[in-house]
């Protein structure tokens, strides 16, 4: 089990990542990332 755990976690992570991509979340992250984040720079 101890040997398998990292692989199970990795598979679950990739499944989450894929599900997020299918739900269009990449676009959401991109839209946030290409806009100047006023909060991040302290004027939000």
């Amino acid at each position: 089990m101890r040997r398998r755990l990292p692989w199970i976690l990795l598979a679950a992570s990739l499944a989450l990542l894929t599900a997020g991509l299918l739900l269009g979340e990449y676009r959401t992250v991109l839209e946030k990332a290409i806009t100047v984040c006023l909060d991040c720079i302290g004027i939000g």
């Binding site: 679950a12 997020g20 946030k32 990332a33 290409i34 100047v36 302290g42 004027i43």
Partner: protein, 315 residues
């Protein structure tokens, strides 16, 4: 029984770990490679910027090529209640999956090799001064920052429309101030009239952190960084694993003296505090510390080859 230390010619040949600062500098440049943005007074807006980078690297840095996973995660948590109210299925699974995939593969290794802000802390710490340790209890604070400022506050404290703020970015993150706040105010004059209390708060916090970097090595990573806190949870269950051979370890503490995060690796080889910089592997004269990734072992393997025998490595 502990074996004699290796004489210099027997020490393992020079490995990537012996050139780690060059890797860190390379990743700093690679993650922030769009230099033309600095001259145009804008931030990079290419289509690859939705990729979550394995580091705390502000996406409002003019030349940043990717997205900061902590900033992206707060955005999802902050927008979750609004999205649910309009039946929009955006849960942050992509960001969580990206972060967890890195964690389950290598744990906190990117903290030691990739993160530009970690590298900057190590550089500032080279300024000669008395060096101070951090009480271990303070290192648990990073979990508080992760839970409170990245998850709970963005999720629970919302405006009339149901939107939460990016609390960690807004109130704390000195990486954002250094990589985005200072440069953008310099290259975008139209932002200057907006400078107010929040800006001075963040710059003041950055100055305080910078002063702390001089006296203590990587204090932000150890006590504040929510990304390091998240990846640290995977250290004990990642594909990349550290190991200490109790038969060879003499408890000489040389590894801890060289460790940038003050970990006693001989007590817990895969401690959540360990950033896997592998300095301890080089500093151990007895070849007691090794690492394993996808079936490949290092250091003890060099020794085994030198001594021509198989030895059991205990974790």
């Amino acid at each position: 029984m502990a074996e004699a230390p290796l004489s210099k010619p027997q020490r393992a040949s020079r490995k990537p770990r012996d050139h780690r600062p060059w890797y860190q500098a390379g990743f700093l440049l690679a993650l922030n490679a769009w230099i033309p943005s600095w001259f145009k007074g804008e931030i990079f807006q290419g289509g690859i910027k939705g990729v979550c980078v394995p580091a705390l690297n502000c996406y409002s840095c003019p030349s940043a090529l990717g997205a900061c996973p902590i900033g992206a995660m707060q955005t999802f948590f902050g927008g979750l209640r609004f999205n649910l109210s309009i039946a929009e299925k955006k849960f942050g699974l992509y960001v969580l999956g990206s972060m967890a995939a890195v964690g389950s593969a290598v744990g906190r290794l990117p903290c030691g090799w990739v993160c530009p802000f970690g590298f900057i802390q190590e550089l500032v710490h080279k300024i000669p001064s008395p060096k101070l340790r951090i009480p271990h209890a303070l290192t648990y604070l990073r979990y508080v920052f992760l839970a409170a400022m990245v998850v709970l506050l963005p999720l629970l404290v919302v405006d009339a429309f149901g939107y939460g703020q990016t609390w960690f970015c807004k109130w704390i993150c000195p990486a954002g101030t250094l990589e985005a706040g200072l440069p953008l105010i310099l290259i975008k004059p139209d932002l200057r009239p907006l400078v107010g209390f929040m800006y001075y708060w963040k710059v003041g916090l950055l100055v305080l952190f910078a002063a702390w970097f001089v006296f203590t090595i990587r204090p932000f990573c150890r006590t504040v960084c929510p990304l390091g806190a998240f990846w640290g949870l995977f250290n004990k269950a990642s594909l990349f694993r550290m190991a200490v051979d109790d038969e060879k370890c003499t408890l000489c503490d040389a590894c801890r003296k060289d460790c940038p995060v003050d970990v006693k690796i001989y007590e817990s080889a895969n401690s959540p505090d360990c950033i896997r910089c592998l300095k301890c592997v080089s500093s151990c004269k007895y070849g007691a510390i090794s690492y394993e990734f996808l079936g490949k072992k290092e250091t003890a393997s060099d020794l085994r080859a030198l001594r021509g025998g198989r030895e059991e490595i205990r974790e």
